[in-house]
């Protein structure tokens, strides 16, 4: 048991699981810090994963696909902000609608272009960072730009949210938009920025999943967008705590995969439940009270 956990391949597995979780969770965090609940993280991940697959298969340039998929993610973010900010429509229902739309689009285009309801043909993954891949053993992980970025993101988002003018204003939009507006802060601009950052980061998570598996399959996101939301809540909307929550969830998921291969005394389904049950317990307040941004979810 213990020798499995401290093995290099297990740690690699944890890091790989961690990447999409942390990208998704910080995405959700940026949106909620601006006071917009975005439960469509799942949808953003699905669509970006598919669009990366589509563009790579069609054109064959992974970097171009990365760019185009991010642009698609940004476009959907603006659409989302049109609903939630410009028109002040309920954010939860909008999120449900976006999830259905984006998952539906991916399914439809997969059938339309590749005549398959399960997966696309294989394609190239993103290129590795050239110098770092020369590092012995885990060169593969360290040389993966998105994995490296997701670790840097801990510092970037901590700094951005708590130490910059942008972050202060973003938070003020999420805590007390009326007060912020009266001080001359363009609340809508900051809320929109939060949503766009959210769209970019969650798309990056989807792109990474597609790129690392070199195929897009139906259900490959498998609720990761929701686990990301859970990690954000358990992390109490703080980048460093979210990091810990994501690390914990990815540890459990890696454990689950190991158990599936080796067999275990604990049914894997119970490990699957863990993140969700823990989130509820944290919310109920048995492990310290959590407090979302004060104006979270309220249209402004």
């Amino acid at each position: 048991m213990l020798d499995i956990i401290i093995s290099l391949s297990f740690i690699t597995q944890v890091i790989r699981m961690f990447t999409p979780y942390y990208l998704g969770a910080s995405a959700a965090n940026f949106s909620e810090r601006g006071g917009v609940i975005n439960i469509a993280i799942e949808g953003f991940m699905i669509l970006s994963a598919f669009s990366y697959a589509f563009f790579t298969i069609s054109f064959g340039y992974p970097m171009l696909s990365l760019l185009l998929s991010l642009i698609a993610g940004i476009a959907f973010s603006f659409l989302f902000s049109l609903f939630t900010i410009k028109l002040k429509i309920n954010q939860i229902i909008t999120g449900v609608g976006f999830n259905l739309l984006m998952a539906g689009l991916a399914k439809f285009f997969m059938m339309y272009f590749y005549n398959s309801s399960s997966n696309t043909p294989n394609f190239q993954s993103l290129p590795k960072l050239p110098i770092l891949s020369l590092i012995p053993f885990q060169g593969n992980i360290i040389a993966d730009a998105i994995i490296v970025f997701s670790f840097l993101l801990i510092f970037i988002s901590q700094k951005l949210i708590f130490k910059t003018r942008f972050g202060l204003r973003l938070r003020s939009a999420g805590e007390n938009p009326e007060a912020a507006e009266s001080l001359g802060i363009k609340v809508r601009f900051y809320k929109t920025s939060g949503i766009v950052i959210c769209g970019v980061l969650s798309s990056l998570g989807g792109i990474w999943l597609a790129s690392s598996q070199q195929t897009f399959s139906d259900g490959m996101i498998a609720g990761r967008g929701y686990i990301a939301l859970a990690a954000m809540i358990i992390g109490k909307w703080k980048p460093v705590n979210i990091f810990a929550a994501c690390l914990m969830f990815s540890f459990f998921e890696a454990l689950e995969i190991t158990f599936q291969m080796t067999g275990s005394v604990i049914p894997t389904q119970f490990i699957q439940m863990l993140p969700y049950i823990m989130t509820i317990i944290v919310l109920v307040g048995f492990i310290g009270r959590t407090r979302p941004p004060a104006a979270d979810g309220i249209p402004y």
């Binding site: 539906g104 339309y112 439940m273 049950i277």
Partner: protein, 347 residues
């Protein structure tokens, strides 16, 4: 009611038209003839008894789940967890009927339905009590409980009751199958439409009266619209909230009746295929009015079966996109129509 009828009617009609236009452009863009696709769809849906029957069969669960969610939405409970509630309830229904039908025959049916209702209601009770006691938004808890439900059902099914090398429960005895509608209306021959549909219609009418014509319904809506005022009116808002939430969640389990007793005879993993989310749209489109839900469920039922009808022209997944577009466009048209009304009222 009547004062709000016209604007609601306008915004629903506009949103459906908007969806058709967007979908038409979309089809045109990918090189299909939208007129041909839609006419083929309507031809297959309404042209044959089988088409109508299958559409009714697809509509039934949408009415049931939509009605359950409508109750929750009336007390302002955003129940995103219908998917989990459905699966917990339907699974228990199938398991209980399988274990009991040898012993108590027909009585296994009501026992199973009640047990399913209770299980789904319990799954709704958890977010409701957490909301009331700890003021935690039901949105997140219901989403989380969805996944707990999937994993729990998966475990119980795969480890305990599943038929070997399948993902379903054993079949129920033949005498427990509900009568098909085609036994009464022969032209529906071959379709899976069954009397659950009649039950769904009756339930919708019944809930309409509860919501709009009884004191309980009045209190319910009052809690949903303004909990603070309701509290000072002497309404026990927590009790109304919890009770309505668990009844609503319980009703979603009836979806299992249509599938288990009306169609397959067993519970199957993934049978609900996002029904819990689609039903949110169904209820929303009808402004949470159960009578309206019958119609909006029909619209979604048509899209559901219509997708299969046009499958050789465009992939049937186009209907998933259409359903999502209906939701998003109703959100927009509602907002714009309301804006227009308040503008003209003030002028």
């Amino acid at each position: 009611m009547s004062r709000k009828f016209l604007p609601n009617f306008i915004s629903v009609t506009v949103s459906v038209l908007l969806t058709l236009i967007i979908a038409g452009c979309f089809l045109y863009f990918i090189g299909k003839d939208p007129v041909m696709v839609f006419s083929k769809m309507f031809e297959d849906v309404f042209g044959t008894g089988y088409g109508i029957g299958q559409t009714i069969f697809k509509t039934t669960p949408l009415i049931l789940c939509g009605c359950g969610l409508a109750l929750c939405f009336h007390v302002s409970a955003f129940n995103i967890g219908a998917e989990g509630q459905i699966n917990i309830g339907a699974f228990l229904m199938a398991v209980i009927v399988f274990y009991l039908d040898d012993y108590i025959g027909y009585f296994a049916f009501p026992v199973a339905v009640l047990a399913g209702f209770a299980a789904s209601a319990l799954w709704g009770f958890i977010p409701a009590i957490i909301k009331v006691k700890r003021e935690v938004s039901e949105v997140i808890t219901t989403i989380m409980l969805n996944f707990v439900a999937f994993a729990l059902v998966n475990y119980l099914l795969m480890e305990k009751v599943a038929v070997k090398s399948t993902v379903r429960t054993p079949e129920i005895i033949n005498s427990l199958f509900l009568p098909k509608l085609s036994e009464y209306i022969p032209s529906l021959q071959g379709s899976s439409a069954n009397i659950t549909f009649i039950f769904a219609l009756a339930l919708a009418v019944f809930l309409y009266f509860i919501i709009y014509k009884t004191i309980y319904g009045y209190r319910m809506r009052s809690v949903g619209i303004n909990p603070v005022a309701s509290k000072y009116m002497g309404i026990n808002i927590n009790r109304i909230y919890i009770l309505t939430f668990i009844i609503g969640a319980g009703i979603t389990s009836f979806v299992g009746i249509n599938f288990i007793f009306g169609y397959k005879g067993y519970y199957e993993l993934g049978f609900s295929s996002n029904l819990g989310f689609t039903a949110i749209a169904v209820s929303l489109l009808a402004k949470n009015n159960p009578i309206g839900i019958i119609f909006s469920a029909f619209l979604f039922g048509i899209l559901d079966f219509g997708g299969l009808a046009v499958n050789n022209m465009v992939p049937k997944e186009i209907m998933l996109v259409l359903q999502a577009l209906v939701i998003l466009s109703i959100l927009i048209t509602d907002k714009l129509v309301n804006k227009y009304i308040t503008k003209t009222a003030n002028a």
